[in-house]
Amino acid sequence: MTEHVRAVQPEPDMVQLLTPEGERVERADYPLDITDEQIGQLYRDLVLVRRIDSEAVALQRQGELGLWASLLGQEAAQVGAGRALRSHDMCFPTYREHGVAWCRQVDPLTLLGLFRGTSVGGFDPYTHNFNMYTVIIGAQTLHAAGYAMGVVRDGAVGTGDPDRDTAVLAFFGDGASSQGDVNESFVWAAAENLPIVYVCQNNQWAISAPVATQSRVPLYQRSAGFGFPGLRIDGNDVLASLAVTRRALDDARSGQGPTLIEAFTYRMGPHTSSDDPTRYRLGSDVETWKLRDPIARVRAYLSRSAGFDAEFFAAIDEESEQLAVHVRAGCRALPDPSPESLFDHVFVELPEDLRRQRAEFADFVASVAS
């Protein structure tokens, strides 16, 4: 496929502030005001998020979850973006943003309910300003644009008041970039100069389809045709993700409109627990990307350049063990929904004909039980 493609531009520039070897890179266009302690906190996020993920993978194998979509390899893109948000910003995830959910203080068990089959989402997006997971590819990007339209109408953009000005962060994947909804969202964002930041995690694969199936041009260049800026970051670099998302969110809040960030990363695991990637990709690619691991580079930086000692890392490992216990035990204890709940929340108030169906269902359940 790719051989038909004529090159239209050189390989893109990619913002990187921490090399895979753990060297800090300073960039005048993306200065990052951050202490080593704060980098240590990002390290903690990355480790804990990976631990939630690996625990969920194990729970799926043990039959406790019906499915799991692992974020392995994408921790930095997500934690950087998640930590760039202010609490009153709104966030619209796909189904893989466990790392962002963590930064929004969503209990991992809430996410597990969806994959265990005890709920279809089941949480209040307003509590964490984090919308429910969206399975329909790309749909959430339009919800994000609409939410941003509301923000504009509320006069919560460009006032200069940091507690008032609000941005919206929308996630989608490289596969999703082909969806009409995503492209329509770009149209709206541009036409209305919306306070929205798109983070496209280009993990190179949409199930078995490589990114070349979706695009002849680097994905970040898509935004240019719509009339707003786009750029590529090293998606395995939490500092680049934080700095670039922070700046884009600032721009959005101050009324400068949308930005597309392409986080160039790699899906280290299968698409979901149901997938077998050996059917369509080379193990050697995975090996190459292991050398760009998002966590190893932060650890290298902290221990080599910031003087963090073994005690620091041991404490985080200990915390991660406790978190795993919480996830494991909590998942097994998630209650099955009651049969009567089937009819809950179909409407704000259950209409008469559905009440009759519910009664019919309850009668039947009772008759079988007796």
């Binding site: 919800h143 644009a145 339209m149």
Partner: protein
């Protein structure tokens, strides 16, 4: 709030009644916004939103880019943010690019959020044929929506219902698909001083011999049928269904228990149309009252025809009278 506009007085067209109803919702609730293709300066291709942008400003009544998934999807986001969007779909045949957002998002997000998110979205769709239009401008897609959980679907047949039902639909905290029978936009009637309940059918002509159930554009035709039948000494009862989801079959069941005969009329194609569900419910509830099979008079299971053929395709007085004869002769 001062200066709430009054209920329209005297004879009013359905188009004007809808306009007045929408105006009232904008006056009553600052969170109501009206959005769609050409709804601003132009007032919509049918002028239903005429003058509203001028009076309420571009933040509340606005033209969107030309993309139906985008219109519905951004309405979802606006609703999450606390707004009460009213979307106009320009014509029935153009709702399908937005169908995924309606079925998978609008109808389910309240459920997905375990009740935390409300989506008080009204989606207005001019529908049905009889206006001599080109392809995709005469469709009756209501059954796709009534088949989908989490959506309410209503349709008006008179200016009075148009006025009150649009106000009630916009005030509802659940999403409502509001079908407007475009061929009735210019028909006139008085607007009642008070509304009836939104999700209830209404008996618009009492009768003893046979029940005709219709909705939207077909209610007027059914009433004509009843007039003609009356001349032949047959006393037909006509019921306007009004609420397609939730489906209110109480009135029709009660009626069929008395008349023993039912003819169901809709423009939409027959197979798996609303008529099928109504017939199923009526036979379940009134089996021993039935004196004849339940009959349907509908569009045929073909694409909507070129306009020179639409009078043949649409249910009309003669086709309905034929069904009435067959039912009573059974």
């Amino acid at each position: 709030m001062t200066g709430l506009s009054a209920v329209p007085d005297g004879l009013t067209t359905m188009a004007k009644a809808l306009n007045a109803g929408l105006r009232r919702t904008l006056e009553e609730d600052p969170k109501v916004v009206i959005m769609g293709e050409d709804v601003g300066k132009l007032g919509g291709v049918f002028r239903i939103t005429d003058g509203l942008q001028k009076d309420f400003g571009e933040a509340r009544v606005f033209d969107t880019p030309l993309a139906e998934a985008g219109i519905i999807g951004t309405a979802v986001g606006l609703a999450i943010r606390g707004y009460r969007p009213v979307c106009e779909i320009q014509f029935d045949g153009f709702v399908f690019p937005g169908f995924d957002q309606i079925v998978n998002q609008v109808g389910r997000m309240h459920n997905r959020s375990a009740g935390a998110v409300k989506l008080p979205i009204t989606i207005r769709i001019p529908y049905g044929g009889g206006i001599g239009a080109i392809e995709h401008h005469s469709e009756s897609p209501e059954a796709y929506f009534t088949h989908s959980p989490g959506l309410k679907v209503v349709t008006c047949a008179t200016p009075s219902d148009a006025y009150w039902m649009i106000r009630q639909a916009v005030a509802d905290d659940d999403p409502v698909i509001f079908f407007e029978p475009k061929r009735r936009y210019w028909s006139k009637g008085e607007v009642a001083a008070q509304p009836g309940p939104l999700y209830r059918a209404r008996t618009v002509r009492p009768g003893r011999d046979l029940t005709v159930l219709a909705y939207g554009p077909m209610v007027g035709v059914a009433l004509e049928v009843a007039e003609v039948a009356a001349d032949e000494g047959r006393d037909l009862e006509v019921i306007d269904l009004r609420s397609l989801a939730p489906l209110d079959t109480d009135a029709v069941i009660e009626s069929v228990r008395r008349t023993g005969h039912l003819v169901i009329v809709h423009e939409a194609q027959r197979t798996n149309g609303l008529g099928a569900e109504i017939a199923a419910r009526v036979q379940e509830a009134a089996f021993y009252s039935l004196e004849a099979p339940l009959l349907r008079v509908t569009g045929y299971d073909t694409p909507y025809p070129p306009s020179r053929l639409e009078e043949e395709w649409l249910p009309n007085v003669d086709r309905i009278l034929d069904a009435v004869d067959r039912s009573l002769a059974y």
